[in-house]
């Protein structure tokens, strides 16, 4: 009995003694646990950030539109869009107003945020239709390096009824693609080249069957036919040449559909020779504005910047590549 009690007492004393040491007032200093979050991929931007960025860009563009001065554009606009926008502003200065197609709505329907860690980063954002019921715009934002900000790289007006692939929600983010993405009916670089070939050769192209018909090519063909009639009436000639510049391509992968959405720049020139010693003059107000005070000759060359948005399906899907949006703008008019 005594022994048992004494043991109990001793145990109590020891435990009480241990408790005293515990009272280190603040407790233990917390340690940093090696975060596992660094491994899981997270979107590069939050939707709030994307909205802020987009609005900053649009503010710059609006300001430039208002001033009809492209000088400040370079801060937030780059790539083909910079050329296009500058051209539009130049024309607007001469004509007095921006073309309707230059409108970019502030509201969006969808944004595709990348999860890639490195740079450059690309964001695809699809706006709503414009107030005057023009089609939606596909905005391509890009951040070239960590020290740069996001800039508007390209805008493609989506065709009416064009079907876009599905992307992950912004909370999850999507993967960016590369020009050499495999597992598609054609790599993005190949697809753009083939489309360029299509534009060049028309129905005679070898890749005709690989592409579905689209509005852009139809419009171009109509335009070319019209101009051709005019040229023949004047015994002139005309030709368009499309070229693909290097590394002017932005790709986002659609995990759900397995394909890629590609936005690429295609440069083109349209050379018109007036026959019988006539002068080849600017064909439109725009060309006139761009031509400015140049001296006309018998040959006129107009340089265009085209932006094409292509949907490349996954390999084995037996689908054609479809152009879902485009933009075309003459950026230079010169008499050769």
């Amino acid at each position: 009995m005594k022994k048992h009690t004494l043991t109990k007492v001793a145990a109590l004393l020891v435990s009480a003694g241990m408790l005293v040491s515990l009272a280190a007032c603040e407790g233990q200093v917390p340690q940093v646990t090696s975060s596992q979050s660094s491994e899981k991929t997270s979107p590069d931007l939050t939707t709030a950030q994307e909205k802020k960025i987009r609005n900053k860009i649009l503010d710059v563009i609006d300001a430039a539109d208002a001033a009809k001065n492209p000088a400040a554009l370079a801060e937030r606009v780059t790539g083909p869009q910079l050329d296009i926008r500058t051209s539009e502003l130049t024309i607007a200065k001469a004509t007095g107003k921006m073309p309707a197609k230059a409108t970019i709505p502030r509201k969006i329907t969808q944004t595709v945020i990348p999860v890639n860690d490195g740079w450059p980063r690309t964001v695809f954002t699809i706006t709503t239709t414009t107030d005057d019921q023009q089609s939606k715009r596909l905005l391509v934002l890009t951040q070239d390096s960590a020290r740069d900000n996001y800039k508007l790289w390209g805008v493609a007006r989506l065709f009416q009824g064009a079907k876009l692939p599905k992307f992950e929600v912004p909370k999850l983010g999507s993967e960016m693609g590369t020009a050499k993405d495999a597992k598609l009916v054609a790599t993005p670089a190949e697809a753009v080249n083939e489309y360029c070939d299509l534009l060049n050769k028309g129905d005679a192209s070898a890749y005709k069957k690989d592409f579905a018909d689209d509005m852009f090519r139809d419009d171009l063909q109509q335009l070319a036919a019209t101009v051709q009639q005019g040229m023949e009436a004047n015994k002139g000639t005309q030709q368009q040449v499309f070229t693909v510049p290097k590394d002017q391509i932005k790709i986002m992968r659609s995990a759900a559909d397995g394909g890629d959405l590609v936005v690429a720049r295609i440069d083109s020139t349209w050379t018109r020779q007036a026959g019988e010693g006539r002068e080849s003059l600017p064909a439109s107000d725009e060309e006139k504005a761009l031509f400015g005070n140049g001296k006309a000759t018998s040959t006129m060359r107009v340089t265009y910047v085209n932006v094409i948005a292509l949907w490349i399906p996954a390999a084995g899907s037996n689908q054609q590549i479809v152009a879902v949006g485009a933009e075309r703008q003459p950026v230079k008019v010169e008499a050769i």
């Binding site: 009995m1 005594k2 009690t5 004494l6 109990k8 007492v9 109590l12 004393l13 435990s15 009480a16 408790l19 005293v20 515990l22 009272a23 007032c25 603040e26 407790g27 200093v29 917390p30 340690q31 940093v32 646990t33 975060s35 596992q36 979050s37 660094s38 997270s42 590069d44 931007l45 939050t46 950030q49 802020k52 960025i53 900053k56 860690d117 490195g118 740079w119 951040q143 390096s145 960590a146 020290r147 740069d148 900000n149 996001y150």
Partner: protein, 585 residues
């Protein structure tokens, strides 16, 4: 005794020690613990605000490691006091964005809390080419935006010389990036306000409470002499707590044990002796019952070990039910049966084995009934009368008879006993049993009788019949008995369908009869011939069975039904049994 004074002295010393020494110690400890707890709750309370500081020298950028910004709490206030006069900015961003911004730069990492007051730092990063850096700086970061203008930050706060910003850092991957404008020194402090504080007081309170309880216990309970604490020890036998009582208890226990052993031994012996009645269990129970006169006699008719019954050749006790009639005391019944058996034995001579079987089964039943039952049964068994009286219960008996038939190799000795028993038993289900068990080949009554006899004998503790006949019989009897008893009141499920069916209807006694009568064709339809059979059987066993029949009537009827159902071949027997039963009644 000598022990007592010593024990008392020891007890007193023990009490003094406990009350005078241990209790105060525990009490003091309890007070101390509670005091410490109070101190921890007030003076030594952990502080709610934690501020950790550090000093940076010669670096432009300071970045926290992932998880450091929200280390103590998600709400953190960052104060940066730079040595220079340039703009100081603090940005909240994701870890990879910060890493992207800092690529090619030297910077300082805040790695965590070295102590509650100090932030740990570490130099990191690799210097890019100094020329480009300086060129960039000269161009005003032409190749890059200003720190504060970067799109990547979630939020950024800038101020001249010193900046204070508060952030809610929920995600572990969010880091704080501090730009000092240029390489310089700075004092950086992180302040967290803890929402949950560690509680050190409660354990002390808890321990204090335990110590207090222990002190109280040692002062009261543990100070008592041990034996006085054991107030309610129950010895279980005599209930006396005194030492003397214990001894006597021990003695009593010893006696009881010895008695138990003796009882089991005797029962064992009894089991193997044919003449003895009552199986092991019976004997044991009886002996035990006899010895433990202090114990109340518990008769539980349902406390039957069917498996044992089935397995033990000598087990029966199905007839206990019959013994349990409330109106007629078992003893009276036994006496009655005994008388009947005598009478039937006289009149029947080598009657159908059913009688014997009935008697046997009756005996068996009695035995099977249980300790009390068995004892009673024994007495009953010994006299055919009780056996017969058991016949009504005696579906078992008939079963037994059937079983006996099945075995079919019973000695004629069984016949003798059977005759007497049969008279009673014939009415009972023995007949049905026999018919069921046997192939209903119309074995001679003798066979049946023998079988029944053996069955009965075995089951009946050998008292009446020729126990020791085929064990099969016994087994059959046992099962029969069970069934018989079942038929009587319970519908036990014996291995033998006969018995079961017999139990359903008290045809058993009837079946016994026809069985015992075996010479009679058993081709009669179950229901119809029964009366005929009964008449036949009745002839043979009516007289002795009559008295039996009356009490057995219900049984007979039941057995009839059961017999009919179970026995095709023994329909005759059944009917005979029934008839006899009817006639008798």
């Amino acid at each position: 005794m000598d022990n007592e004074p010593n024990a008392e002295r020891k007890a007193r010393r023990h009490a003094v020690l406990m009350r005078g020494v241990v209790t105060p110690i525990l009490g003091l400890l309890a007070v101390a613990a509670i005091g410490l707890g109070i101190m921890n709750a007030t003076e030594w309370k952990p502080s709610r605000t934690i501020t950790a500081q550090t000093q940076i020298s010669g670096s432009r950028y300071v970045v926290t490691d992932p998880g450091v910004a929200g280390l103590v709490d998600s709400d953190v206030t960052v104060k940066v006091l730079s040595g220079g006069s340039g703009k100081v900015c603090v940005a909240e961003t994701s870890a990879k964005d910060a890493a992207g911004w800092l690529s090619g730069e030297r910077y300082v990492r805040l790695t965590g809390l070295d102590t509650w007051e100090t932030l740990g730092t570490e130099k990191a990063g690799s210097a890019g080419s100094a020329s480009t850096k300086s060129a960039d700086a000269a161009q005003g970061d032409a190749d890059g935006v200003d720190f504060k203008d970067s799109d990547m930050w979630h939020s950024v706060t800038c101020d001249a010389k010193s900046v204070e910003t508060e952030s809610d850092v929920k995600d572990d991957s969010t880091v704080l990036l501090i730009d000092l404008g240029e390489k310089q020194d700075a004092d950086i402090s992180f302040t967290w306000t803890r929402k949950t504080l560690p509680d050190f007081a409660t354990p002390f309170y808890f321990v204090g409470g335990l110590l207090a309880v222990a002190a109280v216990l040692t002062a009261s309970v543990f100070a008592m002499p041990p034996h006085r604490r054991r107030k309610r020890v129950v010895t279980g036998t005599a209930g006396q707590l005194e030492e003397r009582a214990q001894q006597t208890e021990e003695h009593a226990e010893e006696v009881t044990i010895r008695e138990a052993l003796a009882g089991s031994v005797s029962s064992l012996i009894a089991a193997f002796k044919p003449s003895k009645r009552g199986g092991r269990r019976h004997a044991a129970s009886s002996s035990a019952a006899g010895e433990s006169f202090e114990q109340p006699t518990v008769i539980d008719p349902s406390a039957r070990n069917l498996v044992a019954d089935a397995s033990d050749g000598a087990q029966y006790d199905d007839e206990s039910v019959g013994e349990e009639t409330s109106v007629i005391s078992p003893d009276e019944l036994q006496a009655y049966f005994a008388r009947l058996a005598q009478e039937s034995g006289e009149s029947f001579g080598t009657e159908t084995a059913g009688d014997n079987e009935a008697a046997d089964s009756a005996d068996v039943e009695v035995a099977d009934a249980g300790a009390a039952d068995e004892s009673l049964g024994e007495s009953a068994d010994e006299s055919d009368e009780p056996a017969e009286s058991e016949e009504p219960v005696g579906s078992d008996e008939t079963d037994e008879a059937d079983a006996a038939e099945a075995s079919g190799a019973e000695a004629d000795s069984a016949d003798d006993a059977d005759d007497s028993a049969e008279s009673g038993e014939s009415d009972e289900s023995d007949e049905t049993d026999e018919s069921d068990e046997s192939d209903e080949t119309g074995e001679t009554d003798e066979t049946d009788e023998t079988v029944a006899e053996t069955d009965n004998a075995e089951s009946d503790d050998d008292a009446d019949d020729e126990q020791g006949d085929a064990d099969v019989d016994a087994d059959a009897d046992g099962t029969d008995d069970e069934s018989e008893t079942d038929s009587d009141g319970e519908s036990e499920t014996n291995g033998e369908s006969e018995t079961d069916k017999e139990s359903e209807s008290s045809d058993e006694p009837e079946s016994d009869e026809p069985e015992s009568d075996e010479p009679e064709p058993e081709t009669e339809p179950e229901s119809e011939p029964e009366p005929d059979d009964e008449s036949e059987d009745a002839d043979e066993s009516d007289q002795p069975e009559q008295p039996d029949d009356q009490p057995e009537q219900s049984d007979e009827q039941q057995s009839e039904q059961s017999d009919d159902e179970t026995e095709d071949g023994t329909g005759e027997d059944d009917t005979a049994a029934e008839e006899s039963a009817e006639e008798e009644s």
